[in-house]
């Protein structure tokens, strides 16, 4: 009897380990393979970028505040379209503890400055010249908006053009 129970126990463990290994393999493949993907709920990768006014923005310095990251390029029509809405939302939440950092993907200083002045944007604008921040966040389509809460966790990832009303709702959700 004793031996029989031991045998059942060992067999159950071996089968459980094997089933777990196979399920994990199937699950990981189904959810996008081995690529290190930044997901909602993950800790936001830290980065540092300098804005057009020469001010450095390091994500870890904004602990305790909500942060909205917006990746964009001038060739992306929905990016351009959502900029005025983002600017309005920025002004409304600037004093409520939500920081906006806009990240342009490796364009020239001239183009970005020209864009900022013609759209009258007030939030900090940075350029990711080496695409390292873009790669750290696995950004593969624009626009990409990351909502990061006061603890540095990614709450939402949005990859479409957003309206002013939605921007405000999202900012409210990460307001400390």
């Amino acid at each position: 009897m004793q031996r029989k129970r031991k045998r059942l126990f060992i067999r159950s463990i071996i089968l459980a380990v094997l089933v777990a290994a196979i399920s994990y393999t199937v699950y990981v493949t189904a959810t996008g393979g081995s690529k290190k993907v930044v997901k909602e709920g993950d800790q936001a990768p830290n980065f540092v970028l300098t804005d057009l006014n020469g001010k450095k923005h390091q994500l870890s310095d904004y602990k305790g505040r909500g942060v909205l990251l917006n990746f964009w390029g001038t060739w992306c029509p929905p990016c351009k379209k959502e900029m005025p809405a983002l600017n309005e939302a920025y002004k409304a939440f600037e004093d409520k503890g939500v920081q906006v950092i806009s990240i342009n993907i490796a364009q020239s200083d001239f183009e970005v400055r020209d864009f900022v002045s013609s759209y009258g944007l007030d939030f900090p604008m940075t350029i990711d010249q080496t695409k390292s921040v873009m790669r750290a966040y696995n950004v593969d389509q624009l626009p990409a908006t990351f909502l990061i809460d006061s603890k540095g966790k990614i709450k939402r990832i949005l990859t479409y053009g957003i309206t002013e009303k939605e921007f405000k709702q999202y900012m409210e959700s990460i307001q400390p």
Binding site: K4, R7, L8, R11, S12, I14, L15, L18, A21, I22, Y24, T25, V26, V28, T29, A30, G33, S34, K35, K36, P45, N46, F47, V48, L49, Q58, G73, T74, W75, P77, I105, A106, Q107, S108, D109, F110, E111, R113, D114, T126, D128, Q129, T130, K131, S132, V133, R135, A136
Partner: protein, 546 residues
């Protein structure tokens, strides 16, 4: 649990064919056989003995060789179907089209079904992975169920076997000898066997000589290698073990390497070398040369590799340390810190700078030239105190006007367009002109001056593949173990010779091997001759002759 009690009073587990103690056949079937089945040395295959709980039923299913073979066949058939149409990674889907439509348009309903069922990306389909996983489970369980009892049986085997076991071996011999002759026979047999490198064990009136037992474990070692190999392939899915990415980098630019944090690469130069006419010795026609591209001699990217000092922080390029300069060629990747960069693709003659002449339209006189760096244009180009060109707008990849505003399709200067304000002594307030390739617009009226296109500088871009594979050592170890198992099982055989004197004054000899009976017979023959025994019979051959 039911036990089978042998005549020698040893208790064997249910399913045993030959008594573990004395070797007597325990089943009716085996008793009737002239030569017993020696596979697994007559031990009970574990799973066949108990069929009780649910877990046992699953276990028994995977332990079955029939199930294992079926799984192999299913895997092969599915993998074969996977070669009918191109796999998804070899299909480049044009923008604006769905993959499924490509398959349907090209191959009709079959193509659509093929895609929907997942055959077009077979290695990533859940059912293919499940089948391969089940095969792995089958290999593990079947090996455990057979390997462990076999190991135990061979480890604890007895020197003296029952006469009925001896009688049922394939090679047998029987000689009548008295006690003194028998003692001499045993002595001589031991010497001969030892000289043939057998391990000899003796008991009162019995002898067991054994050689090459380890070869019986070849298949199990081989399975261990396979399992290690499969685990290595599985580990590729764990983050950090396997990276396969690609990046474009233009000459003169520095970019972060995707998949490996903290590393940056600068493209110093892309080189495409071709064979000169005189180098081409063959008499291929030009069309053939183009068809199989015999002209290209070298694709090469000269790069500088940088690493960020300290803990990598994205965007921080202030303290990049130069690691070295490398030339990446096809099949000669840059290897560093576990990752490799391969030359994969290139794009030649991308626009880098454009030079314009500021020309008076009527007098055709030039006031000077400006050169615009298309990846980093300036706001103003000063020619002299009264003459300058202000850049008002820049569209690197101009497509069309939309609501009066020029649009750009990308950030790459494929088709640059500019809005210039030309300030000249004649027009100190400035004149505005929209300039694109082969297109000039003057939105605020006719201008006195124009920006006349002079020349361009170009540069190349390289596409590099980033590969990191930490599973390679595991795959190598798995492969080596696999081959060791195959070699053990194929080039050695397990030979055993039993010798015993019965109480009625006969010396019995029996011999068994798992393969290569010809050599076994030679060994037995030599023992029979040197120890003065009757020559052996081959019971199987005799039966065939009858």
């Amino acid at each position: 649990m039911k036990k089978i009690v042998c005549a020698c009073s040893y208790e064997n587990p249910e399913g045993t064919q030959l008594c573990a103690q004395c070797g007597r056949p325990l089943t009716k079937e085996d008793e009737e056989k002239k030569v017993v089945d020696m596979r697994y040395d007559g031990t009970a295959i574990r799973s066949k003995t108990y069929k009780t709980s649910f877990i046992d039923r699953i276990w028994n299913f995977f332990s079955s060789v029939k199930v294992g073979v079926s799984l192999i066949v299913i895997t092969l058939v599915l993998a074969a179907i996977g070669t009918f149409l191109p796999q998804i990674m070899f299909v480049s889907v044009p923008p604006g089209m769905e993959t499924i439509d490509v398959y349907e348009e090209k191959y009709g309903f079959f193509g659509k079904a093929y895609y929907v069922l997942g055959f077009s990306n077979i290695y990533a389909s859940w059912w293919f992975q499940t089948i391969v996983g089940m095969l792995a489970v089958s290999i593990i369980i079947a090996s455990l169920d057979r390997g462990i009892p076999l190991y135990k049986a061979l480890k604890h085997q007895r020197v003296r076997r029952h006469a009925s076991f001896m009688k049922r071996q394939r090679l047998v011999s029987e000689t009548v000898e008295d006690e003194k002759q028998a003692a001499e026979t045993f002595e001589l047999a031991e010497q001969t066997l030892k000289s043939m490198r057998y391990h000899v064990k003796r008991e009162q009136g019995a002898l067991l000589a054994e050689k090459g037992r380890f070869s019986r474990f070849g298949p199990y070692i081989n399975h261990v290698g396979l399992i290690i190999f499969i685990s290595g392939v599985m580990l590729r899915l764990m983050p950090g073990f396997y990276v396969d990415e690609s990046l474009w980098v233009r000459e003169g630019e520095t970019t972060a390497i995707p998949g490996v944090e903290g590393y940056y690469i600068k493209n110093n130069q892309f080189i495409l070398e071709t064979y000169d006419e005189k180098d081409l010795k063959g008499q291929d026609s030009e069309r053939v040369e183009q068809a199989i591209n015999t002209r290209a001699k070298n694709y090469q990217t000269d790069v500088t590799l940088y690493k960020e000092d300290g803990t990598p922080l994205a965007g921080d390029t202030a303290d990049l340390q130069k690691i070295g300069q490398y030339s990446i060629q096809v099949n000669k990747p840059l290897k560093y810190d576990g990752f490799a960069l391969y030359q994969t693709d290139f794009k030649q003659d991308e626009l880098k700078t454009m030079t314009f002449d500021l020309v008076n339209k009527t007098s055709k006189k030039s006031l000077g030239q400006i050169t615009i760096d298309l990846r980093n244009p300036k706001k103003e180009y000063v020619i002299n105190k009264q003459t300058k060109v202000a850049l008002q707008k820049y569209y690197p990849d101009f497509t069309e006007f939309k609501d009066g505003e020029p649009q750009t399709a990308s950030s790459i200067p494929n088709n640059p367009a500019f809005i210039f304000k030309m300030i000249t002594p004649e027009q100190p307030k400035g004149e505005t002109s929209f300039v694109a390739i082969r297109q000039t617009l003057e939105p605020f009226g006719e201008t006195t001056y124009k920006m006349k296109f002079q020349s361009v500088e170009t540069r190349d871009a390289s596409n590099l593949t980033v590969r990191k594979d930490k599973t390679l050592p595991i795959l190598l170890v798995g492969g080596i173990i696999f081959m060791i198992g195959v070699t053990m099982g194929s080039y050695w055989s397990h030979r055993r010779i039993w010798l015993q004197r019965t109480e009625d004054g006969r010396v019995l000899l029996a011999a068994h091997t798992n393969k290569n009976w010809f050599s076994m017979k030679k060994d037995v023959s030599e023992v029979c001759t040197s120890a003065h025994l009757t020559d052996y019979h081959d019971q199987l051959e005799e039966r065939e002759k009858q």
